[in-house]
Amino acid sequence: MHFEELKPGGILIYNKTARFSLDKYMSEIDAKRIIVLGIPLTKMAREINVKRPVLANTISIGALLEILGLETDGYLRVIEERFGKESIIEMNRQALIKGNNFIKENSDVRYNLNPPTLEPKANIVVNGNHAIAIGAAASGLKFLSQYPITPASSILSYLSQHAEDFGIVVRQVEDEISAITMAVGAGWAGVRAMTATSGPGISLMAENIGLAGITETPVVIVDAMRGGPSTGVPTKTEQSDLMPIVHVSHGEFPRAIFAPRDIEEAYTLTFKAFNIAEKYQIPVFILSDFTLSERLENVEEFDVNLKIDRGKILDPEQRYPDYHRYAFTDDGISPRLLAPHPDGKHVGVGAEHDLDSNSLAGSQAGLYKSRWMKEQMFNKRFRKLKVLEETDMDPPIWDGEDDADLTFICWGSATTAVKATVDYLNSVSDDMKFNLLSFSDMFPLPVEKVKQELAKIKTGVIVEINYTGQLEQLLKLYVDYSPNGHIRHIDGEVLTRTRLLQYLKELELEEGKIEYSYIRRTKDFNKKEVM
């Protein structure tokens, strides 16, 4: 075996026979993090035709196509062209499908290699972090302060390498506390500012996220989620920071959270995040995860001319004798007047404050007017959240069949696997219909719109990559929805269609068991075959 040639993290497919064992290679395999897949190729070939073990090659190609997420049609055409004889074509066709099905049923390893398209020039191969970085740059990012951490690091390294190209001040700083606090300082000074991290960094940033909250300073924070809690499994995936971020930092203040479903959305939602941050003067989170941040995909070149909305920023050429930094308004949003301007002078402050940003702590605390002002400042800040909810938060989107018997509900990057599953189920089932409802605009949930959509569900199953059901908590809390069942994937691996089908098989839906046709069809499905 030529282990040297295997890339770390690569995949080893081998012909599984009774005589051959990988045991003695295991330490090397572990060290290189190689994924091993044993397929009884010879045995399967002989099942088609005992005399043609060579069919093993076609079986392995069928397996490979499934792993790479490619269709079999193209290869079938090749077989047809290459082998004239119908019986040989048929044997090879069987072999191809056999290999393909073996993977479908036994393995959840997938590399989403989108097939090459007709216009290769307009397409780029990027990961989620590139999409976020370019999205930020295109939407006017001028300041990035970040501390490296898997899987957010490549946002920093990419923008470090392109600081001059985009005109962005990029600083690798001493820790995440510094990263967020510098970004708040820069946001307060008036630039579009961002920081990016993963869970441990979010935890460290908590206090100064609250500072952005009370000072109403726009700032964008990327959380590329990874296996938690604590150090967890840094190179594995989870969607487990949603509720921690809904409540991050002590006390109460408005925030917004977006979770891109795919690479394109990682780009467009980054744009949106900056617009929302400035329009509502709040901290805005982009929830990516290991899967999305690190997975390369072939997408179209991004549209760099999306709308930029800076919200209420006053013209620096005018005078504003009656300016109050935290003036009360109907929508709770007070216009900003950036330094240096003689009428805009004020002291940003983490303490509760009055219209002019005078602190209500210390000697002002407890005065009747301070008590009243404290109430009003809470009202003002939360008014913004309400307007945001009603104006700018988009409802979840549907995919799959209308009027389905079973709806999967999911969010963020899990959508890819759910969509593949829905498509598969719809393709194999003739008596049931499936669809999905997928969220990207997580917080504040647009309550009325979400309720409308949820009302259309017959049987709902929430699919998420965490242990405690965080989307489920959010839906319970804000729209009083409880699903019929849920699937919670916590082993760290990218969620795949195959894995989802396994879970679904095990699922007992609360309102009586519903036996799905696909289950009947895949009875022999058994994960024990996979190493």
Partner: protein, 296 residues
Amino acid sequence: MVAATELIKPSDFKGGKPTWCPGCGDYGLQSAMRKALSNLGYSPEEVVIVSGIGCSGNFPHFQSTYGFHSTHGRALPLATGVALANPDVKVIAVGGDGDGYGIGVGHFIHAARRNLDITYAVMDNQIYGLTLGQASPTSQMKAITLTTPKGVDERPINPISLAIGAGASFVARGFSGEGAHLEKLLEAAIEHKGFSLVDTLSPCVTFNRLNTYDWFRDRVYFLEEEEGYDKADLSQAFVKSLEWNEKIPLGIIFEDEGASLQDLDRIISKGINPVKQKLGIDPAVTDMKKIFSEFK
């Protein structure tokens, strides 16, 4: 800065009424700061004073400049963000000994080595004032405080030695009881291109009964008057930094003239002011073709 005709007076920097105890050392820094800023011709709206939390942290509220009263220990990162986002404003960070040398000391070390052109004035009263008298990192060994009934048992930080050890390019000590001298120190610090520390001995008359004005008056002397002292000599500066119990040097203890971060940062050094840039992709700056081509 403003035209010479509309001269800025120290009193133009007056903001909200200070709530410090009468006699607090922080008043000394305040009046020296106002004078230094007016001497240098700054007008209030050009200046951003950033603080952390503490009695010292209230400083910005009492001035008429822009300001940011941030969280405990985070004045320096906040000031760094402001200064890098808008190089046209003059950023001054202020704080207390607990704020800057305790919870915030990590940022202090990194701000020193980053050498961004900001000034950091610490009101060092060797006590936690705002929280009513606990030990601070500069409280002397054996000092009795609210939390050390038998005396402090950890070695105090010597801010001057520490700043020198961290590679700071401007390290000075002032005393709020020596206003005129402090004013000159602050001027020099603000003029210095790079990170400048002005550790200011600033007695807390309410909670620190040990390090009083008198205690300091008995010990301080002006380094400017010491013959042959060379503030460009790092080793000499370190030795000088160790003086404390018998006599306490005031003045610029170390200064070097290396490049500041503003001189080195790839964007700021080009004279670009981030906050004045138009948002979105400017084809004159960004070649998106090149950007995308890397991914093909």
